[in-house]
């Protein structure tokens, strides 16, 4: 199991992560979590907010909060395109927690698509930052 594949997480403003990895787990729109390993068949998917994990060759993992976007797998390369994505170390945990509380209290009152999306984002951030939700 020394096979690796190239992984790239790209946002419009920067390349967040680029390197070799053994596995990537992310979440597609309506399809649940999906994992990619080296040699995966060509795949194209739309993503939802998720805590995306990139398992590196040296056994460590890179946690990234991805808020929607796309994943393309072809010729042993996984590209995740997202208009907003954050690496775990860049996540402001306090802010995410506050956002989660705000969204939850709003949802207790009425159902609001924006609040649901905000809650999803906050959860993805907190999970990627390694905070118990």
């Amino acid at each position: 199991m020394s096979a690796t594949m190239k992984v790239e997480v790209v946002s419009p403003e920067a390349v967040l992560y680029s390197g070799e990895a053994t596995m990537v787990i992310t979440r597609t729109l309506g399809g649940g979590e999906i994992a990619f390993q080296p040699g995966h068949a060509a795949f194209l998917g739309a993503l939802t907010q998720s805590h995306t994990r990139v398992f590196l060759a040296d056994g460590s993992t890179e946690d990234i909060a991805v808020h929607g976007g796309f994943v393309e797998v072809s010729s042993n390369k996984v590209s995740i395109l997202s208009d907003t994505a954050e690496i775990a170390s860049q996540i402001d945990v306090d802010r995410a927690r506050a956002a989660k509380e705000r969204a939850e209290s709003q949802l207790r009152g009425e159902h609001d698509a924006n609040a649901v999306a905000a809650l999803g984002r906050a959860n993805a951030r907190l999970s990627a930052a390694g905070v118990q939700v």
Binding site: P12, T28, L29, A41, G45, A46, F70, S79
Partner: protein, 324 residues
Amino acid sequence: MAGGQERILRGRIKSMQATKKITRAMELIAGSRIVKAQQRVQAAVPYSEQITEVVKDLAAAGGSSDSPLLLGRDEIRTTCYVVISADRGLCGGYNAGVQRAAEGEIKADTLGGKDYRIVTAGRKAEGYFKFRNYNVAASFGGFSDSPSYDNARDIAQAAVAMYESGEVDRIELVYTRFITPGSQEVVLRPLVPLTTEAIQGGDGKAGSTDGSGGDYEFEPDPSTILDTLIPRYVEARVYAALLNAAASEHAFRQRAMKSATDNAEELINNLSIVMNRARQDAITTEIMEIVGGAEALGSGKSSTAQYVDLLGESPVPAAQHGDN
């Protein structure tokens, strides 16, 4: 009088030096920002390159979509121009170039019996077109130095909403493309509908290697992916245009401020020469006056009598004559 002129010149030189300091500072600031703006243009390339790749793969895999953004309309009646300019002036012909290009297209459309709408990014274009009573549908501003992706999203959403509601049949981007710090060009690029040439005409280097294409798995189905992908693609295009425009703005401003600094320097030199000459003149005149005065005093003692003699009995009648 001569001294007065010298003082005026000294004042002008001083104000010129103050102006030069300001233009020099602006030149240096713009120069340092070009580098940053250029890096942001570079940083945006991978995303736009890959999203183009995904669109192409989807199209190659037969992912057809009913999205109006992709289909286009048979009859083009109204065109929306997204004009990207700066928020501030003092950048040479930067704003004028974009505005002229957009205005030319609009005049051609009007002559051809077609309608138009304008969406402006940057306060300068907004002021220009509103003042001339053009049909400005929406304006954005306050971010031309360093646009963020959110700004691009706002602009793209406003323009796409107009397209989807049928208010406009096509969207064109007018902006200044950044090639090198020494050369930029005003370009007009089709944004919506997305034709194959529009996809390949992006600012990111269009991917030439056509992977394997074909055998993709999709989740969810290709049409749904395409429907969510296309708005992102339009946003990425607008974002790339904004970044290009920002880098160009800094390059134009640096150039304009450099020539302003050079001009100020030249003026200061010329004025210093004039001032020195005026001062020398004043000194010469003063010396002449002193010499003349001394001579008059020195020779006066011996010649007073002769002088009075020449006039007649006394100098008084001569003074009376002068009064008349």
